[in-house]
Each structure stands twice: as structure tokens, then as C-alpha cells.
């Protein structure tokens, strides 16, 4: 099947949009931490843009989409060996690409970059940079690449089994969410949590991140149609409506519980809706995105309270939003999925598809949960015991910016920033 310029234009645009999401995520998280840790947070995210991309080009793309078995690809495409002329295994027939393989590779690379970055929100304010860097590098090779192969590659076992994931509900959100939980269990709580107050140092920065994430998510979901067509349009409408409904769902829930509709709540709810619609974006239609998003907003708001109940310091609620929202979306897909929207999909319960899809979705979610949790825990544990994954008490008190990067984020007053060079 030959290259279509229109489809290529849309996928290249989408790749750019998804890349932009990682800085967006950095600001979303960065605004929520204290001023002494904001650079540490931004750095952790931006660094993923560097390290993960290099690993993707050298090995991960091949591991995820190369010609291996149902469990993992191979190294035949390592180093992006002449992708001009290759056809990716499984991308034939209904799945034949109408865009250059390099465009597909670039697009998928951006997913690999942002997924481990999502984890940084849970471990905010306490990771040692060197340990973090090691973790991210190993994680994207050992955890992300296989899971991406299972679910995204037509030769992957979950894909073949019939599990559906339009843009990464399991691969990205469940995967990163449960990994975040594992790492949090290894590194423990921030000192002073939950007694001490650690309020966001700049909500406008968080709102900026929210705007960029919402904007970029169109590339994330609608781009996953791999073409500029009715399906992409449907995915875009679903994405936007789920974000909108997620915002309203969260605001209603928090107003009912705390008596206030907050700015941070609006941002969090929109993200929850976006997470939940991710697996569904190209398989549902009509007003189902409102149901999926609205539910996600309310449920995630309640879910983030669990950390206080169980005492794990999921600092910026990666578990509460991405893990819970990702599972919710992956399962609701089995309810709302509609073949009239996407012939390559399946009918969900509401459209007479029965429980078959639900079973597949449960398998996909379950497999991702177990595999990612176990490997992530072992990786984090091993790094903590060797290189060290958590900073010392003094470093934590002084902040990551100073201790890990020898920088400070802000210098608004002359007096505050005095000193001499050298």
C-alpha cells in the first residue's frame, strides 16, 4: 500500500504534538511541587526525552515492532536499519501503513518517551538523579518495549488475542501507573508526609502543563488512527469530550466532598478523562466519551484519597489518576465499544458484543499489571541497593534543585540572589 501525503502530514503533526506533551507533563508536575524541587522535576522529564529517544532508536523500536514472536520483537530493526524499505511485521492487510515507517517510528518514539516520564509524579521530591536515570533507561528497555509489543504490534499476543487499546490505556497508563506504585513502595514517603504541608508552588505552571497536555493528546489519540480520516476525527471528538466531562466529573465530586471547585481539580479531572478515553478513542462514538470521561473524573478524585488511607505517598497522584483511570478506560471500552465506529474493533456489552471483549481487556490489564509491577519493583529495589535511588534526608530537606543539579529555579529579587562568581 502506498504512502498517502495527507495521512503522513497528520501523523508527523501528531508525533510533534506527542513530543510536546512531555514538557507539558513536566510543567503539570513541576507546578505542584515545592519551589526547591521544581527543577528536579523538570529535569527528570526532560531527561527522558534525551535518554529514551536514544534507546528507542538503537534497540527499543526493534524490540517493540521487530519480527520476533508474540512476546517480544527482535533486533532486526536496531539502529533504524534502512526503514525506508522495510515493512513492519503484522502491518499488512487491514493494518497496512499508508505512511513512511520512519514516521511511524517517530510517532511511537514519543510514546516511549512520555510513559516513563509519567512515573516521576509519584516519586516527586526524593529521587537521586543518577538512580533515576538508570531506572528510566532499564525500564524502557525491559518493561515498556515488551508491553508495547504485546498490545500495539499486530504480532503481539494481546493484540492477537483481541484485546483493544487504541492509544495506550494499558501500554502507557496502566503500565506507568503500576510502575509508579512499585517505585513508591521501594523509595517510601517524603519526609513529613502526610503531616507537613507541601502545597503546589505555582498552579499557573500546572495549568500551562494542562493546556499543553490537552493539546498534545489530540496527537496521542487521534494520531493513533495513523491517518487523516473519519476515524481520526472520531478519536479527536472523543478525546476532547472525555477531557471536558472528566473536568466536570471531578469538579462536581470535589464540590460535593470539600465544598469547592478548584483550579487544580479542573486540571486533574481533564487529565483523568483523557487517560480513560485513551484506549477507547477510536472504538466508541456518540456520547459515550461523556460517560467515560465523567466517570473517570469522579472515580479518580475518590481514588486519590486512598493514599491517605493506605499510607503510600503517591505524591502527585500517578496511581490515582493514571493507574485507576487507565484500568477504568480499558474496561469501560468493553462496555461502550462499537463496531459501527471502527470495523477493526469489536462490539462492547452495550452494543450486543457480550462479555468476550471484557475478558480480553481483563487479560490485557492483568498481564500488564503483574509484569510491570514485578519488574519495576525489582529494578527500583536493585538500583536503591546499588547506586541509590533515594536522596539523603539532608538533600531532601535542601531540595533536589540544589543538591542534584546545583541550580535554583527562581531569582526574583536582587537581594535573594546575591553572591559572587567563582
Amino acid at each position: 500500500m502506498e504512502i498517502d501525503a495527507g495521512n503522513t502530514a497528520w501523523v508527523l503533526t501528531s508525533a510533534a504534538l506527542v513530543l510536546f506533551m512531555t514538557p507539558g507533563l513536566a510543567f503539570f508536575y513541576g507546578g505542584m511541587v515545592r519551589a526547591k524541587n521544581v527543577l528536579g522535576m523538570l529535569m527528570q522529564n526532560v531527561f527522558a526525552m534525551g535518554l529514551v529517544s536514544v534507546l528507542w532508536a538503537t534497540v527499543c523500536f526493534s524490540l517493540a515492532f521487530g519480527d520476533g514472536g508474540p512476546l517480544i520483537g527482535d533486533l532486526s530493526l536496531a539502529g533504524l536499519k534502512d526503514l525506508q524499505n522495510v515493512t513492519l511485521p503484522g502491518y499488512t492487510g487491514d493494518f497496512a501503513l499508508t505512511i513512511p515507517v520512519l514516521a511511524f517510528c517517530a510517532y511511537q518514539m514519543m510514546f516511549a518517551v512520555i510513559t516513563p516520564a509519567l512515573i516521576t509524579g509519584a516519586t516527586a521530591d526524593r529521587l537521586r538523579f543518577r538512580g533515576y536515570a538508570t531506572f528510566v533507561g532499564l525500564w524502557v528497555v525491559l518493561v515498556y518495549s515488551p508491553v508495547a509489543h504485546w498490545v500495539f504490534s499486530p504480532t503481539g499476543w494481546l493484540f492477537e488475542r483481541g484485546a483493544l487499546d487504541f492509544a495506550g490505556g494499558t501500554v502507557v497508563h496502566v503500565n506507568a501507573g503500576v510502575a509508579a506504585l512499585a517505585v513508591v513502595l521501594v523509595v517510601g514517603r517524603r519526609r513529613g508526609w502526610p503531616r507537613e504541608q507541601m502545597k503546589p508552588h505555582s498552579l499557573p505552571l500546572t495549568m500551562l502543563g494542562t493546556g499543553i497536555l490537552w493539546f498534545g493528546w489530540f496527537g496521542f489519540n487521534a494520531g493513533s488512527a495513523l491517518g487523516a480520516n473519519g476515524l481520526a476525527a472520531q478519536a479527536m471528538v472523543n478525546t476532547h469530550l472525555a477531557a471536558a466531562a472528566g473536568m466536570l466529573g471531578w469538579l462536581v465530586a470535589e464540590r460535593w466532598k470539600d465544598g469547592h471547585a478548584t483550579t487544580l481539580g479542573a486540571a486533574s479531572g481533564a487529565v483523568a478523562g483523557l487517560v480513560a478515553i485513551t484506549p477507547c478513542a477510536g472504538f466508541v462514538g456518540g456520547l459515550s466519551p461523556l460517560a467515560i470521561g465523567g466517570l473517570a473524573g469522579a472515580v479518580c478524585f475518590l481514588a486519590i484519597q486512598l493514599k491517605f488511607r493506605f499510607g503510600y505517598d503517591d505524591s502527585l497522584d500517578v496511581v490515582g489518576v493514571h493507574l485507576v483511570g487507565g484500568i477504568l478506560g480499558s474496561l469501560l471500552l468493553a462496555v461502550f465499544s462499537d463496531k459501527a465506529v471502527n470495523a477493526l474493533g469489536a462490539d462492547g456489552i452495550l452494543n450486543g458484543g457480550g462479555g468476550a471483549l471484557l475478558a480480553d481487556q481483563l487479560v490485557a490489564v492483568g498481564a500488564t499489571l503483574v509484569f510491570s509491577f514485578v519488574l519495576s519493583y525489582l529494578l527500583a529495589f536493585g538500583i536503591e541497593r546499588t547506586i541509590g535511588l533515594r536522596v539523603s534526608a539532608d538533600e531532601e530537606a535542601e531540595g533536589l534543585d540544589m543538591t542534584q543539579h546545583a541550580e535554583s529555579a527562581y531569582a526574583f529579587s536582587e537581594v535573594g540572589s546575591m553572591g559572587r562568581v567563582g
Binding site: 502526610p194 502545597k199 503546589p200 470539600d258 478548584t262 487544580l264 478524585f301 486519590i304 497522584d317
Partner: protein
């Protein structure tokens, strides 16, 4: 000489400044402070977690004056900063042994 220090509500600062200049005071030094007192702070909510902030933003005004003027200055500040609501603040007076104007080296009242 005397140093008059006043803790007032920030939005009253302009009135205080004007009251003092009306008295002929030529200068003052102001800083941002956080006050704790009978006036309670407020509560904020982030993702369902309640944060209680006990401190209230206040403005701190320092004026060095001649002994003779201290009382009038205090009275003027009290009059200007008063809203009759809790949190209006305090004014206190402390002794100053010497004052110097850096530009000229003048001492005492001449330095005002």
C-alpha cells in the same frame, strides 16, 4: 530618637504613607511580613487535602523620628490603619541611639 514600627494590613499601607507624609515625615521603610494573631488564617484545598495557613500577609512600616514626634506619628498610624476589625495590627516604639544618613554622613535629626 525613636523608631516607630507598625504592623498593618497591606491594603492600608497607602493610607498610612499618606498620613505620615501629611505629618511631614520624609521617609519610611516598608517590608512584607506574615502575621500571626487573633485574626485567624485561612484554609486551602488541593486535591481533597485541606491545608490550614495560620499566617496572614501584613505590611511592616518602620519610621525613625525625633523623640518629640513619636507620639504624633503613632497616633497618625493608628488613625490611618484602623478598620475596627480584628487584625488591624500593632504599633510599637523603641529607642534609637543614633541615626546617620549614608549619603552625607549627617547624624541625628539632620539625617531625617
Amino acid at each position: 530618637m525613636r523608631l516607630v514600627t507598625a504592623i498593618v494590613k497591606p491594603f492600608k499601607l497607602d493610607d498610612v504613607k499618606n498620613a505620615l507624609t501629611d505629618l511631614g515625615v520624609q521617609g519610611m521603610t516598608v517590608s512584607e511580613v506574615q502575621g500571626f494573631g487573633r485574626q485567624r488564617g485561612h484554609t486551602e484545598v488541593y486535591r481533597g487535602a485541606e491545608y490550614t495557613v495560620d499566617f496572614v500577609p501584613k505590611a511592616r512600616v518602620e519610621v525613625v523620628v525625633d523623640d518629640a514626634d513619636a507620639e504624633r506619628v503613632v497616633a497618625a498610624i493608628v488613625a490611618a490603619a484602623r478598620t475596627d476589625r480584628i487584625g488591624d495590627g500593632k504599633v510599637w516604639v523603641t529607642p534609637v541611639e543614633s541615626l546617620t544618613r549614608i549619603r552625607t554622613g549627617e547624624r541625628g535629626s539632620d539625617a531625617l
